[in-house]
């Protein structure tokens, strides 16, 4: 039951710097821990988090990898490792210039993939 929470303003004035915060539900199992029976718990990590921006509203942005879509611009990316706590939280800043959609993608071990998108109205 992966779920994520994105906290950011829905609207901004052109040139404003807005704070974007993203929290995702994930166990971030390191692969180094053992169960109470002594068996090694298999690694289960989010490996990469990206946030990209696609300009314009109302257009289709439903591709699974927003980063490779023409016209999309990478805003923030992170590579995650075993030392990152469960339910990773990221906060970063973004300069709003035109209206568009921010696309958040988390990918990781065991085919983990979660995607969220939030529209931003710039006036």
């Amino acid at each position: 039951m992966a779920s994520a929470l994105i906290t950011m303003p829905k609207a901004a004035r052109a040139g404003d710097v807005i704070e974007v915060r993203a929290l995702v539900q994930h166990a971030m199992e390191t692969g180094y821990r053992r169960s109470s029976e002594g068996a090694l718990l298999p690694r289960d990590l989010i490996r990469r988090f990206t946030c990209s921006f696609v300009e314009g509203t109302g257009q289709s942005v439903s591709t699974s990898d927003g980063s490779s879509k023409p016209g999309s611009r990478l805003v923030f990316a992170a590579t995650l490792h075993a030392a990152v706590a469960a339910n990773p939280y990221f906060a970063f800043h973004f300069r709003a210039e035109r209206s568009g959609t921010l696309i958040f993608i988390w990918t990781g071990d065991n085919g983990f993939a979660h995607r969220e998108q939030v529209n931003l109205l710039v006036t």
Binding site: M1, R21, L23, Q25, A27, A86
Partner: protein, 259 residues
């Protein structure tokens, strides 16, 4: 004169034992407090969000959602601060008075699930159950804990208080020994809180997940090297009932964050 002073000192010592009650969050580090205060960072909000989604999800043989009977989840404000309490009259027990009993919020959710939605009950600590519980308690955030006055509940609270005072385990400690006697002092790196269940279900950094009050109680029992009571046992329920009475009037913080 000396006697009077001694008596005065004794009175002060006794009243300071009843110092203002403190929530566990007051003992937590500034970083943990920030994590709880800020809904954008509080990982417990992920469970709340999941529970809010379940509220409107039709399920079971009856194909009913919680919202189909109860309406918007916002209407459930004030519900979570009452539990544990006597079970709401259900379809199956309306006529049979002999089945009246005290239940906690999780058991109430499962009762609805089985009888109204005709779905299977969730096991203890199931993520969906914790989510729904967290979403309901979230609606009562900031409301004072208010156990109702019910004869059956009073009996459970009394049994719970006896358990609270009962020394258990190889360490031979009662809940009271630490959470009344040594609250504010340290156990290893952690400060011992007064043990008020103000934020349940809580996100515990040690668990890296949300868990119930029963999970926490079982954790304490293992720590004093006693055999923990099983999930859903009447002993854990009685303890829950007593702890909520002990914390009556304190504001609910769900989803709480603790170290």
């Amino acid at each position: 004169m000396r006697l009077a002073l001694a008596i005065a000192a004794l009175v002060i010592a006794l009243t300071s034992a009843a110092e203002p009650r403190k929530s566990g969050i007051d003992y937590a580090s500034a970083a943990t407090q920030t994590l709880q205060k800020d809904d954008a960072q509080n990982p417990g909000m992920l469970w709340v969000k999941d529970g809010q989604a379940r509220w409107t999800e039709r399920t079971g043989a009856a194909n009913k959602a919680c919202a189909d009977c109860h309406g918007e989840i916002a209407k459930m404000r004030g519900v979570a601060v009452r539990y544990p309490a006597m079970a709401a009259p259900s379809a199956a027990t309306a006529s049979a008075t002999s089945t009246q009993r005290v239940i906690n919020l999780a058991q109430q959710i499962n009762q609805c699930r089985v009888e109204r939605q005709q779905a299977s009950a969730w096991p203890a600590e199931n993520a969906s159950l914790l989510g729904l519980e967290a979403a309901l308690a979230f609606e009562s955030r900031t409301l004072p804990i208010a156990p109702p006055v019910q004869p059956l509940l009073a009996a459970a609270q009394a049994r719970g208080e006896a358990l609270y005072r009962q020394r258990i385990g190889q360490m031979d400690l009662s809940c009271r020994d630490c959470h009344d006697g040594l609250a504010g002092k340290r156990l290893g790196g952690n400060i011992i809180p007064q043990g008020h269940p103000t934020g349940y279900p809580i996100y515990r950094l040690e668990w890296q997940a949300v868990g119930s009050l029963q999970r926490r109680l079982r954790g304490c029992m293992t720590a004093v090297r006693a055999e923990p009571y099983p999930y859903g046992s009447s002993e854990l329920l009685d303890l829950e009932a007593y702890l909520m009475k002990r914390a009556a009037g304190m504001p609910l913080e769900t989803p709480g964050v603790r170290p």
